[in-house]
């Protein structure tokens, strides 16, 4: 068991390393000199030189990379060019906002998905099944950024019930768990939750329908087990897969929330990334990318490690 965990950890290390390289190098892929973002085009030569050495751009690229990784490991991701604040502070603040949004959306989506999927799986071919499947198809087909816009139009502009943008009154980014702030959370969360809902509905439906046809269920019923007890059996058997998918979904939503966050101006990592790209804020871009991908790698690792614990059938090598 521990051997397996160790193997997975060792295996994740080169990936994490490559992630750092790519996060760093992506900026250099772009056409144009990174310097152009920092200094105006017509600045005098000595100013440019000063800026260059201040940002370390005068050293060879591998050295820059090394320095960056070294500092990152010590918690210093540099300073944002646009805001002047430490990248780490900005990113961690954003991460907590996105994590909150992603987790809530995942939980909402997963619970709805389980309910719909179970209903559909139990009553295969019926109207309930068709409705649930419709929701599922909508969930995976809908462009969620568009859904966000539509919900904004309906609930914010037309009905005025909920705010259209931001994470707090007056555009504040400090989160407090009160009704004022929760109102800001509602629309983004609903928008994001349709994705996991669609996938989980599909997954659960397939699993439940498959399981109901298996012999052990027929055997249980023949022995007089009540439907509730049989349901518990099925729930136990589907739980590992659902948990695995949920974990992955949280990671996916954290990484892929950029579109929804842009629509709602939600101050999360996606929004930060967007800002960083358009303002050519290199340290911010590198730092955000690094943190996001590391979270995803760690999450994947956790899911991989936890899955055999939950599902004893998965005899991993």
């Amino acid at each position: 068991m521990w051997v397996y965990i160790l193997k997975r950890l060792l295996y994740a290390l080169p990936i994490a390393l490559s992630v750092t390289v790519i996060s760093f190098m992506l900026v250099y892929l772009a056409p144009g000199d990174p310097l152009n973002a920092i200094a105006p085009a017509d600045a005098p030569a000595d100013v440019i030189e000063a800026l260059k050495s201040a940002y370390g751009l005068d050293k060879p690229v591998p050295v820059q990379y090394g320095l960056w990784v070294w500092r990152a490991v010590h918690g210093d991701l540099g300073t944002s060019i646009a805001s002047g604040r430490a990248v780490l502070t900005e990113v961690m603040g954003a991460v907590s906002n996105t994590f909150m949004l992603a987790t809530i959306a995942s939980l909402m989506g997963v619970s709805m998905g389980c309910v719909l999927g179970a209903l559909a799986g139990y009553q295969r071919g019926s109207l309930t099944d068709k409705i649930a499947t419709t929701f599922s198809v909508i969930g995976v087909s809908i462009p969620h950024y568009w859904l966000g816009l539509v919900l904004t139009i309906v609930f914010s502009i037309n009905l005025g019930w909920l705010p259209a943008m931001g994470a707090g009154p007056g555009g504040s980014t400090e989160w407090v768990w009160d009704l004022e702030h929760i109102r800001f959370l509602v629309l983004p969360a609903i928008t994001l939750c349709v994705i996991p809902m669609g996938i989980i509905t599909r997954t659960v439906r397939a699993l439940v329908a498959d399981m109901l046809e298996q012999e052990f269920v027929i055997a249980l019923r023949a022995r007089g087990l009540s439907s509730v007890a049989i349901f518990k059996h099925i729930a136990k058997n589907t739980a590992p897969t659902v948990l695995a998918v949920t974990g992955l979904q949280i990671g996916y939503l954290m990484g892929g929330s950029i579109l929804v966050e842009t629509v709602f101006a939600w101050p999360g990592t996606g929004f930060l990334l967007n800002t960083a790209i358009f303002q050519r804020d290199i340290p911010l871009l590198q730092g955000t990318l690094l943190v996001l991908c590391m979270i995803f790698v760690v999450l994947n690792l956790l899911v991989d490690i936890l899955q055999p614990l939950i599902d004893p059938r998965m005899g991993r090598t």
């Binding site: 080169p14 990936i15 994490a16 490559s18 992630v19 790519i22 992506l26 900026v27 892929l29 772009a30 056409p31 198809v137 909508i138 995976v140 087909s141 809908i142 462009p143 950024y145 568009w146 816009l149 539509v150 904004t152 139009i153 502009i157 037309n158 994705i195 669609g198 996938i199 599909r202 997954t203 397939a206 699993l207 897969t241 695995a244 998918v245 992955l248 979904q249 990671g251 996916y252 954290m254 990484g255 892929g256 950029i258 579109l259 842009t262 990334l273 967007n274 790209i277 358009f278 871009l285 990318l289 996001l292 991908c293 995803f296 790698v297 994947n300």
Partner: protein, 297 residues
Amino acid sequence: MRDHTQPPQSPQAPQAPQSVGYWRAVLRRLKHEPLAMLSAGVLLVLVISAVFAPWLAPGDPFKASMLKRLMPIGSPGYLLGSDELGRDMLTRLMYGARLSLVMGVVPVFSAFCIGTTLGLFAGYLGGRINMVIMRILDIFYAFPSVLLAVAISGALGPGLSNSLIALTLVFVPQIVRVAESVTTQVRQLDYIEAARMSGANAFSIIRVHVLGSVLGPVFVYATGLLSVSMILASGLSFLGLGVKPPEPEWGLMLNTLRSAIYNKPFVAALPGAFIFLTSIAFNLLADGVRSAMDIKK
């Protein structure tokens, strides 16, 4: 990163034979699926309007008019209203179909070709080559697909071809994973050993004996990617990373019309509705094809 539209399951090497007659039977079964046929019809309409846009569209997608900005739906001469620069929405939507369909199909098709080839070789040759290919791809898997697309797009810069490249790079690892998995399963079967006994080289064996079993599952997976590709591509344009203005592209139109949601919400939401429609059509068609392929003879 597993594809978020599929439940996590390993693709099965198909047991039923897949000759030419098989595909004809699939087509026949497909005709009995009403949703799939409806979707095919919708897609056909979109394709026709995209291809023949210059002849079918009522106006000029680029002709702006400051006086005719944000006209409501149903205005004379502007059947679906006009956008924030006074251009006819219907025309722009029809022209937009071109870009959106291209951005949906081209990356998936390219990824299909590249990915299947890589997966076949990784799976068949096994050993070190397999390890090298799969480990490199695992690095790509470390990024969620949206993030990867945004990152590559952001790095390469806006533009249609850059978006296509970014999306292809996002999908190739996923397709390679499917192809390699099926190839590894098939490779262990006895008839592959019998084929090796023939003295044929790896290319011949892959082409004659392995390719057929692999194409099915990969094709099914790829069709599921079509809607993802479209939504992702439009999303990139929505962020400003994809197609540049003044090109008519549905995602970009959503972006530029954002401020209009306050006074003309229906017009502003229209491009997204089309993305939704096309995406559902792709998915329902893909589902139909998948279940038509599923039934064994």
